[in-house]
């Protein structure tokens, strides 16, 4: 989930051969889809309209702690990264992302 439509579309195109991919462009839509589809893995941006990434992480921690979450963000702030990892995120990936690296991280997250 990310409010950058083009980013979502390109990532989906890259991942859809290996996984079933659902896209959400804001936090509220993400929560709705998480309830409906119960995903194994979530790629989560931090700066989003309506509900931000940290709020989504809190929700996941309480209601869906089994969802493997990878944070993908442009912010390289160490403190934010630490907070996200403490809130259950498995990784903190900085934009611009490398697709092959992302693929490896999703695979290793799903294996955990």
């Amino acid at each position: 989930m990310d409010d950058e439509v083009e980013f979502c579309s390109l990532t989906e195109e890259f991942l859809r051969d290996q996984y079933t991919v659902k896209v959400a462009y804001n936090g509220k839509e993400a929560l709705r889809q998480i309830q409906e589809f119960k995903p194994d893995c979530l790629l989560l941006d931090l700066r989003m309209p309506e509900l931000n990434g940290k709020e989504v992480l809190k929700f996941l921690q309480t209601y869906h702690s089994s969802v493997k979450t990878l944070v993908i963000t442009a912010s390289g702030n160490l403190e934010t990264a630490r907070e996200c990892l403490e809130m259950g995120a498995l990784d903190y990936i900085l934009k611009p992302i490398e697709l092959n690296e992302l693929s490896d991280k999703i695979r290793s997250a799903l294996e955990r």
């Binding site: 083009e6 442009a74 992302i97």
Partner: protein, 301 residues
Amino acid sequence: MDKNSPRHGNQNPNDELRCLQFKIDALNRLLEVQEKTVIEQTTLLHEEILERKQAEEKLREAQSQLIISEKLAGIGQLSAGVCHEILNPLNILSLHIQMQLKKKAQDSEYVAVLEKMRAEVHRIDKIVRNLMRFARKDDFELKKIQIGTELDSVISMIENEFKTDNIILVKDIDSGLPYLWADADELRQVILNIINNAKYAMNNGGVLTLSAKLETRKNIPVVQLKFKDTGPGIKKEHLDKIFDPFFTTKPQGEGTGMGLSVAHSIIEKHGGSVAVESREGAGTTFIIDLPIMQSEKKDRT
């Protein structure tokens, strides 16, 4: 009648002479006293002039530091917001390139162009990350560190390159320097940036003298690091710009112009200061002062 007056009608010549001698002695004593007073006053005046000059010099230095800090703080504030806005479209650009590389892997000519574009994306990413690092105010992990250890760790990284470039490294690091509270990663980055600049300046070989000493700066105990190179020095008109982001004298593509501005920002966040002394043809010295926490003064390594 005044006994000391110069002329008495019925005085004998001897008395007159004694009287004159007495007056001369008195005048000499007066002259000596006055001469002493003049010397004392002149010395005092010289000391006052010197103190005033030193105070003016300190004021100029503080003003110059303040101007640089304010200028950099302004740029930093602007950069923090802009960087985030750049990284999102850069990410999309990078993804398009990667997807095209995947789809057109057989077309070598096309792939070569895409690889060049990908390298440029990495370059923009590096510049933006540096700018973010420069702008960041809070992201710090302070630990007790020994500056000598951090200097050694950077030196071990570049020692071989120095040998290849005919650069002699002279170390003058005081033993028993106090511990510092600092972010070791950030401090190593500063040391590396300054050493790299010196290395670039001495591309025909030279001497880099690295010193670390305990000093007092504005009545505060500091660990003072000096990086003195024997390169060609910095042009006078460049001296007040060298800490500006993106200022570089290197040819295009050889430097981002962020090394010294990042160094300045990091040192300032540690409560320290960084200054440069340089003359064309006479080398350059970077001076970094890092304050020692009061409780650490007796806590020697």
